[in-house]
Symmetry: C2
Subunit: 223 residues, 2 copies
């Protein structure tokens, strides 16, 4: 990269970080646990949110911010579950930025428990942009292969939890769950890992339990 | 984007385009048909190259340039097939650029027929960077879902061919091949489409035939 590019990138990341910190502080004060979901296209982010709805809503309120380059499709899928959803169309940009979340902030109801931000499908660029979330989750779907953590390390090192998705397909694929976990934990030993299938529901109760405990912890800290 | 960012991006794309044009001209004069393979992580780019090897090599010579953020894994898989392969590690960058190909140029043997460039796994950013290829192929794997062309349009509008991969998994998935093709052709009616499985070999003969005809056409044009 030439010097001018490096400077522009540093400025961009610096200003993003400042906006993200303000958003996180506001969300913490309101007691809204916020997650940033990052993965390749089609790893199952929207399907996860659809299948979390029935498990979260008896007790808690959730809402979703959808990031996509084009189309309202993902927000429509979420709204069909009766969940408030906002669609951000980036119009070409490969990731969400904190200022895009900041613009939506006035619309976010304050009685919320969980706010999920579904990033643009991209295992690379979103890793560099803090959105003000409390928990960053990277999703790795079994058809992508168990060799991805070391090939795309940044998103694994900056995440708090790893969801191995499409577990129902594992018996049909050359995918070794233990190898994938081991690779990811080698580069980030603090990762909480879950193996889930949004189709069969396996692993989802454990993940929801983790969300509820994280919510309690956030509220105790900011009480 | 602020004005300075837009200007830096325009400069970067402009200089990339010029380098790419020079590379393409040199490759054309040598009669080396060059392909740029773009897809999400784990859509099957390396597996495709492995399974093309035995179908191309009885008659023709091929070589591969591998682009990854980290690791030499993909190049090692290709070399294990006895095929020359160079690994470009981008060290964080989300796409290959023409100057990276240009640097390798002196090492590329001139008796080659096909040069495959496997881009970084990313359905977004590589679409903006011409690498000097003759044919750009976007791979969409069936587990990613048939709704991706309109959500990630740029790579589909800038590609010459679409390979729907992992066709063997289609019977197990909510993936409609005709819907995926229709979506892609609506945004780019000129796309040549192939439905393949590197595991079973289905569709590969048809794709190899397309490659051989494209090679003939290139050589006739530059004879």
């Amino acid at each position: 990269m030439i010097k001018k590019e490096i400077q522009v990138k540093a400025d961009l990341l610096g200003s993003n970080k400042a906006v993200a910190a303000t958003i996180r502080e506001k969300l913490s004060q309101r007691g809204i646990l916020t997650l940033n979901l990052i993965s390749s296209p089609g790893a199952g982010k929207t399907s996860l949110l659809e299948s979390l709805a029935s498990r979260i809503r008896p007790e808690h309120e959730m809402a979703v911010i959808e990031g996509d380059i084009e189309t309202e499709r993902d927000a429509e899928r979420i709204r069909a579950q009766g969940i408030p959803a906002w669609q951000i169309k980036t119009g070409g940009a490969c990731h969400l930025e904190a200022k895009m979340i900041g613009k939506l902030f006035p619309e976010i109801p304050s009685e919320l428990d969980f706010l999920f931000i579904e990033n643009v499908g991209n295992l690379v660029c979103p890793a560099s942009f803090d959105l003000g979330e409390h928990i960053r989750c990277v999703l790795l779907s079994s058809p992508e292969g168990d060799d991805k953590p070391k090939k795309y390390p940044k998103v694994f090192t900056t995440s708090d939890c790893l969801l191995i998705t499409k577990a129902d397909l594992v018996p049909l694929l050359p995918f070794d769950i233990e190898r994938a976990k081991k690779e990811a934990l080698e580069i980030n030993p603090a990762l909480q890992t879950f193996v889930i299938s949004s189709l069969t529901g396996s692993g989802l109760d454990e993940f929801v339990e983790f969300l509820k405990i994280s919510l309690q912890n956030l509220r105790q800290k900011y009480a």
